[in-house]
């Protein structure tokens, strides 16, 4: 799928529901109209604050997409006091929120169709794997890493085996997602992953060692979210399409990249 076919919109989306599903973790459904209609798993939206002093977007991945009802589910973490995400968490059903999307490329579902695939998520990187699990036609094994408290994990069970790792050992394997793979002797032909940089680095090394393809979803500070400002670049092996300088844009060329294509 080419990103240029996907039509982006910025619109005011009414909140359908807002729920706290873990410490500082919120789940929100939005009435998103054409944004939902055009969206694919692994893409994200930019949310905007109602506070005139906060100008920049808050990029949030799509956790679930309901094309029929034109709804989107976002699961996000409140990062601190006075932040944009804190503001979002206080908004009730019925309140509109400015939303730009769908943004980015999404996971290449066709490339791994029918294979044995790890869907790996770490922390707040877990949400985008849910819609990916729903839509991916493959033999899926979910490996989810948490610090302590679990969230969303039950919702993955409909789509395959779910393995969990926690840093404090309170559930599943004590350690990280790689520890969970080793402890359970798991294997796959391909990987889709989203999570913090150290986790992605370990997964990239593992995929290289096993000789399997691995796609990772990257994070970077953004301003435009649509590829115009060149804020959100990551170092890439190939020259990028925009500036021909090995700087791919996370918001437009990503956020999903083949792990061997980018520096971490």
């Amino acid at each position: 799928m080419s990103t240029s076919e996907i039509k982006k919109t910025k619109r005011s989306c009414k909140i359908i529901s807002q729920e706290c599903i873990g410490k500082d973790i919120y789940s929100m459904w939005l009435n998103a109209g054409e944004i939902a209609k055009n969206a694919v798993p692994g893409q994200f939206v930019s949310l905007y604050s109602r506070d005139g002093s906060k100008l920049l977007p808050r990029p949030i991945s799509l956790c679930e997409i309901d094309k029929e009802e034109e709804k989107l589910r976002l699961v996000y973490r409140v990062t601190g006091r006075g932040t944009g995400t804190e503001e979002f968490s206080g908004l009730h059903a019925g309140v509109p929120i400015e939303t730009l999307g769908p943004l980015g490329n999404g996971f290449p579902l066709d490339a791994v169709k029918g294979k044995k695939v790890f869907l790996m998520g770490g922390g707040i990187g877990i949400p985008p794997m849910l819609e990916t699990a729903k839509q991916l036609d493959a033999e899926k094994t979910m490996v989810l890493g948490y610090r302590d408290e679990l969230f969303l994990n039950k919702e993955f069970e409909a789509y395959g085996d779910v393995y969990v790792a926690t840093e404090d050992g309170s559930a599943g394997t004590k350690g990280n997602v790689m520890d969970a793979i080793r402890e359970n002797g798991l294997e796959a032909d391909a990987i889709f992953a989203c999570g913090p940089a150290p986790m992605l680095r370990a997964i990239k090394a593992y995929a290289l060692e096993k000789g399997i393809p691995c796609w990772i979803s990257m994070e970077e500070r953004m301003a435009c979210g649509v590829g115009a400002c060149l804020a959100c670049v990551c170092k890439s092996k190939d020259v990028d399409s925009h500036s021909h300088v090995h700087n791919k844009r996370v918001c437009k060329d990503g956020p999903v990249f083949l792990s061997t294509e980018v520096e971490l």
């Binding site: 500070r221 649509v226 590829g227 115009a228 670049v233 925009h242």
Partner: protein, 298 residues
Amino acid sequence: MNVNLAGVELKNPVMTASGTFGSGTEYSEFVDLNKLGAVVTKGVANVPWPGNPTPRVTETASGMLNAIGLQNPGIDVFCERDIPFLRKYDTKIIVNVCGKSTKDYCQVVERLGNEPVDMLEINVSCPNVKEGGIAFGQNPKALEDITKEVKKYAKQPVIMKLSPNVTDITEMAKAAEAGGADVLSLINTLTGMKIDINRRTFALANKTGGMSGPAVKPVAVRMVYQVANAVSLPIIGMGGIATAEDALEFIMAGATAVSVGTANFFNPYATEEIVKGIQEFLERQNVADINELIGVVK
């Protein structure tokens, strides 16, 4: 709504601010480029520039800091790809030019002489690159000299883009005028810094960045007013414009045209909405010609 910048007739005074709109491709999904007075491109150099390490942007109160570092594909790719894209639209093309030395600038300017672009904007005020950029923009003599050199090679009217990080903006404006500039644009970004106290480090990899957005508007309006009353060149005003009201503030302070930058990031429809808003203001206030409003507040 027509305004005239050094002989170039724009259908309206609303343009994009360099570096915030790419070469128009991305925002053409949101706005009809045909509706804009001009598209000002991201700065382009003689060769590709990789720019600065990330993080390159951070949020500040009603503003942002950026230290992109003028990443650009170089003039060759630009001429092959971006100019033909923009030529499909009925809008003026203004190419923003950056460089590390006078020679760099002149090379790009000369090369653009044969291209179907309408004006050149010379960025001598980027605070985010070590060489070139702002060095030329904070010294009147250096500014006059580079303006003269650039004018030797330029086939299109030359806009000199001024830095606000100076003691006396009128001195810089006069230097650019003395060097032969056709138009002035201001302001580029104000140099700023943000510190992440928990990580005890700078929010931007480059330490400092350029501040833009509504926060800087009062400084920008003041400088446009000062320059309009000090030189006789037309002015392109910018810095924090997000609404038609903001744009009209700059016009009444003395700007002939305005550029919209950071606002695109929080409202991708901003440029087109501002064109519409100015039109409505003129109708509401029975102003026959927008040129009547330029510098009307004294």
